[in-house]
């Protein structure tokens, strides 16, 4: 066997050979080969970035929601500025002499650091101004125009949904090295959620310049040019007209209005009020400070980012769970004498005046509090379970299968999960074994610790419409180059058998359509549309009650499900009901019937926000 010491030298020789190969390659690339030498000097070359047009956003019917318009940035290569008529430049660019002077002074101060770089001199000038500049460009060596595209909004719909774009910030750049200073990106809403598709890919052209700095022609016939790739267009599920109408209905009210297509989970309209108008989006930087300070928080999308007690609409779920657990039958009657007494000392959960006793569907129609206290009591005291905690955990699992208490998984990144408290929560709060039905009686009617987002409530309306399942609500449709998560195509079933739903739908129908029988939602009645609905009035610790309404229509093969949630607007039938009904009527009939004109006028003109 050879000496191992020998191998030390062999390995060193190997190292030497490899280093020699690398050196040889370097020598070839850097010294011998000319074809790799493009430009040692920026003087002889100029590169022009081509910014791709951002993808366009359409509504579900192909109507343009967000488009692009062209403007120009004026760029300068300070080293290439040989002579400068400051006054003439300021005049041509519609700016002040001082602005030009300050800029040039800055460039002189940082002369060495800037080197041959090209910087942005003036941002976003109008095409007319640019044309004037282009004609006289030869007088300003070192300056040139750079085409950019900006967002344009031809239609005032969905300001909060669409979001806005802005120039990249230093922090964003640090996290996203694929961007360069001066690029634009989506900050909020759809623009942010679909940034990858909308963005497109930058390209560039390389030009040669002659000795006087004038652009001569394309370098090597454009061999090294790269075309910009436009961003992909996004098709949303929004109906632009419905969205616009919804915004008009919600004007001056605080809350949300969400409409879904039950058969697909597509969001037809989503209004958060007060919101942002699209003309604000177009020039967002100017309005940002004011909008942030506004105490009504217009920047915030309440439909997914606010959670409220759902109120009486929640009675439907308790009814369904009671039916599924076989502790309730549709024919069962319970008395209600202005409420339900739940402690021996006579504490009472109040109810309004209606006839008594009632069966299930009449209780839904009249939204009887007492009835649903009995229902919830029998759910929690079901002998099938050992104790309240077990029964409660079972109930909670059923409720969560309706999409409550967890994020639905919609394509809104800011979506909240709402809250369905766990048994552990009550164990901690009241101690284990120390809480029973009377302790949490308010859950019977959707009050107490329960919280839900308007989107979750709308999704619940869609579940009622579908009789037992939903598709996860979403706002982007799949189109060329744009994929959506396959989960949006999957039916999500609740834990309640689909057969039970048929037993409570008549109550929802009667609430709207049984005129003169004490239904709570007669105001939403539209002849011929067969709207099924449920009102709700949720206590609000900050003033007047919140007004809630869910509905779907028509009763068979529903095409739309709506939830309206209006803060501090009182009883559900006062504002939420009419707003939701008008939206449904507009969507299904295309116009508002004569007998609803007064109602429409009242809704459109009322301002509830002080």
């Amino acid at each position: 066997m050879e000496q191992l010491n020998n191998r030390y030298f062999k390995l060193l020789i190997g190292l030497g050979v490899v280093l020699a190969i690398l050196l040889g390659r370097l020598f070839y690339v850097q010294i011998i080969n000319e074809s790799y030498k493009t430009d040692a000097d920026n003087n002889s070359m100029s590169r022009e970035m081509i910014y791709p047009p951002r993808g366009i956003i359409y509504d579900r019917n192909g109507k343009l929601l967000v488009g692009n318009r062209i403007c120009y940035d004026i760029m300068v290569t300070p080293r290439a500025v040989t002579e400068l008529d400051t006054a003439a430049l300021a005049h041509v660019l519609d700016t002040t002499v001082d602005f030009v002077r300050d800029k040039m002074k800055y460039y002189r101060t940082y002369r060495s650091r800037i080197g041959w770089q090209t910087l942005v001199f003036l941002k976003q000038i109008e095409p007319e101004t640019y044309m004037r500049f282009a004609e006289e460009q030869f007088r300003f060596p070192g300056f040139k125009g750079q085409e950019r595209t900006l967002r344009e909004y031809p239609f005032n719909a969905g300001g909060n949904l669409l979001g806005y774009t802005s120039e990249v910030s230093a922090e964003y750049l640090a996290e996203h090295p694929e961007y360069r200073a001066g690029d634009y990106y989506g900050r909020t809403g759809l623009e942010a959620a679909r940034e990858q598709e909308l963005r497109g890919k930058k390209g560039w052209r390389i030009f040669q310049r002659d000795s006087r700095g004038r652009t001569k022609d394309s370098y090597k016939d454009g061999e090294y040019d790269v075309e910009a790739e436009p961003g992909h267009d996004i098709v949303t599920t929004i109906d632009a007209y419905l969205q616009q109408y919804g915004q008009a209905l919600m004007a001056g009210k605080k809350g949300s209005l969400v409409a879904l297509e039950p058969s697909t989970g597509e969001i037809l309209s989503m209004v958060s009020s007060p919101g942002i108008d699209v003309d604000v989006l177009a020039d967002f930087g100017k309005h940002y400070g004011r909008l942030r300070k506004d105490k009504n928080m217009p920047l915030y999308n309440r439909a997914v980012s606010a959670s409220y007690p759902p109120g009486s609409v929640f009675k439907l779920i308790n009814g369904l769970i009671g039916l599924e657990d076989e502790v309730l039958q549709p024919w069962m009657q319970y008395p209600c004498n202005g409420g339900y007494v739940y402690t021996s000392s006579g504490r009472k959960l109040g109810c309004h005046a209606h006839r008594s006793p009632l069966n299930l569907n009449d209780a839904i129609m009249t939204s009887c509090n007492g009835y649903f206290c009995y229902v919830f009591k029998s759910i929690l005291e079901n002998p099938k379970f050992e104790n309240t905690e077990e029964a409660y955990t079972h109930w909670r699992e059923m409720v969560m299968s309706f999409g409550f208490g967890q994020k639905l998984g919609s394509d809104f990144p800011s979506e909240l999960s709402g809250n369905i408290p766990s048994a552990d929560y009550y164990n901690r709060y009241y101690h284990k074994g120390r809480w029973r039905f009377p302790t949490i009686v308010s859950l019977s009617i959707g009050q107490g610790e329960i919280l839900a987002t308007p989107l979750q409530i709308a999704n619940f309306a869609a579940i009622m419409a579908n009789r037992g399942y939903y598709y996860i609500p979403h706002v982007v449709k799949a189109s060329e180059g744009v994929e959506i998560d396959p989960k949006y195509y999957q039916k999500q079933y609740t834990l309640v058998d689909t057969l039970q739903f048929a037993k409570v739908i008549p109550g929802m129908w009667k609430a709207v359509n049984a005129l003169g029988e004490g239904g709570t939602a007669n105001v939403a009645h539209v002849p011929g549309l067969d709207i099924c609905g449920k009102t709700g009035t949720a206590q609000n610790p900050h003033g007047k009650d919140n007004s809630v309404f869910i509905c779907f229509a028509p009763r068979d093969n529903p095409r739309i499900a709506v939830a309206a949630y209006i803060e501090n607007a009182g009883f559900g039938a006062t504002w939420a009901g009419p707003i939701a009904a008008l939206l449904v009527e507009k969507y299904l009939n295309g116009e508002i019937g004569d007998d609803h004109r007064d109602l429409e006028r009242r809704v459109l003109t009322t301002r509830l926000i002080p």
Partner: protein, 431 residues
């Protein structure tokens, strides 16, 4: 009686200052080049924390602290004894990261802890080196014994396989360097030769035709037979030579037949495309070949003396992607020219040379083998990274050690190197 002072010789004599000087030079030169690579548009400070250069400054300070701790605060004898548990823990992390990681450019190898990201694959180089040194350095280890050599190979191949599963082929390729360590410790050179032949046959098959490869294989095997049959006289050894030749030939044939399958079905699309571009089978300077093409333009435009620091023009518009990390050498080529590149190559050459020299001089097998492992890691990273940047190898994204932007890589290499420096110092102290 021997005085303490005689035993414990001063720092000046025991610490290998050459290695430390080279280390500091590489790190600092890397830092100023990162600044040149990331700076764009408006002038900003090199310490601006929103830029990679500012962050790297913090990483470098941290690395220096780590180096000091490794040399002064930790008894180097610890390393041999922790090699087993450390290897096990890192192996667990390597597997865990596949399930827990977020997807970074298609690979599942990064742990994200808030703002900090790190790759267990970086740690694994250290622990593999330690365990390999501990296993091969123990008395009684014989490279000729099948069980021993297979065990040594397993120590290397297990983490390598997991890293391949993390889609970090580049990092996995580095482990091939450990074969050089095995070679130094007595593994037959024919294994290296066979590996070289395999790569050659693969390339030739793709570039020309399978029958050209086959002819090549026949020629190699025939050359081997002719050369050795003349020298070997005993019947037993002649049989052995013939057997070796047959095995080599059968292997080559199999490899040539499997090339198409491997290339089209095993490799991922992007890997296949990168190899095609490298071999000139496809011309694609806008797509896959774009990085390398831009990288060569940047380096080529540097010429002999370069354009001067911060005067590079290819950087301004970001023509070269990943310029502060994997393609950092472009900046050196463009701004410092051939002279600067030779300087950087010389630094790495000296680093590896002195590492190997110290390792050779060492009296304990553990330190010697560990030193070779460290040298091999640096060597493989250098060759793969520069090979890619210079268009000699397919695009494999691994950093230039100590030079590229990235905290986890910088720290890992610092630990790797300074464990050796501490081991080396310990020996010089007492011998």
């Amino acid at each position: 009686m021997i005085q303490d002072g005689e035993l414990d010789r001063g720092l000046r004599k025991t610490l290998d200052w050459r290695l430390i000087a080279v280390y500091v030079l590489i790190v600092l030169f890397g830092w100023i080049n990162i600044y040149a690579a990331v700076r764009s548009g408006e002038p900003v400070s090199i310490l601006d924390l929103s830029l990679n250069s500012g962050k790297q400054a913090l990483w470098i300070l941290g690395a220096f602290v780590i180096a000091v701790v490794l040399v002064f605060a930790i008894n180097p004898y610890v390393w041999e004894s922790v090699s087993r548990p450390a290897y096990g823990v890192v192996l667990a992390l390597l597997i865990l990261v596949i399930f827990l990681s977020s997807n970074v450019k298609g690979s599942h190898s990064w742990f994200e802890l808030g703002p900090v990201k790190f790759q267990p694959a970086e740690l694994s180089k250290i622990t593999t080196s330690l365990l390999l040194a501990s296993f091969m350095g123990r008395p009684g280890f014989k490279i000729g014994v099948a069980r021993d050599v297979l065990m040594a190979l397993a120590i290397v191949l297990v983490p390598m396989a997991i890293i391949v599963a993390e889609s970090e082929t580049g990092s996995a390729l580095v482990y091939v360097g450990f074969l050089l360590v095995l070679y130094r410790e007595g593994l037959s050179g024919w294994y290296l030769a066979l590996m070289g032949l395999a790569v050659l046959l693969f390339v030739v098959t793709l570039k020309t035709h399978w029958w050209v490869s086959l002819l090549l294989a026949v020629a190699c095997v025939a050359g081997y037979l002719v050369y050795y049959l003349r020298r070997v006289t005993t019947l037993r050894n002649r049989r052995k030579v013939i057997r070796n030749a047959l095995v080599a030939f059968a292997g080559s044939t199999l490899l040539i037949l499997a090339t198409d399958f491997f290339f089209n079905s095993v490799l991922k699309d992007y890997q296949r495309q990168r190899i095609e571009v490298l071999l000139g089978i496809k011309e694609d300077i806008r797509g896959v070949g774009y990085n390398v093409h831009q990288s060569l333009i940047a380096i080529g435009s540097g010429g002999l003396f370069g354009k001067g620091y911060l005067q590079g023009t290819q950087t301004t518009f970001g023509f070269v992607p990943e310029q502060s990390t994997d393609f950092i050498f472009c900046t050196v080529g463009e701004e410092w020219g051939f002279v600067g590149c030779v300087f950087v190559l010389a630094l790495y050459g000296l680093l590896i040379f002195w590492l190997v020299q110290d390792a050779e001089r060492s009296r304990t097998a553990f330190t010697r083998i560990y030193g070779y492992c460290v040298a091999a890691c640096f060597f493989m990273h250098l060759v793969i990274n520069l090979g890619m940047t210079l268009g000699l190898m397919p695009v494999i994204g691994i950093p230039l050690p100590l030079f590229s932007y990235g905290g986890s890589s910088l720290w890992a290499f610092t630990v790797l190197l300074f464990i050796f420096i501490a081991l080396d110092r310990q020996e010089k102290k007492y011998f």
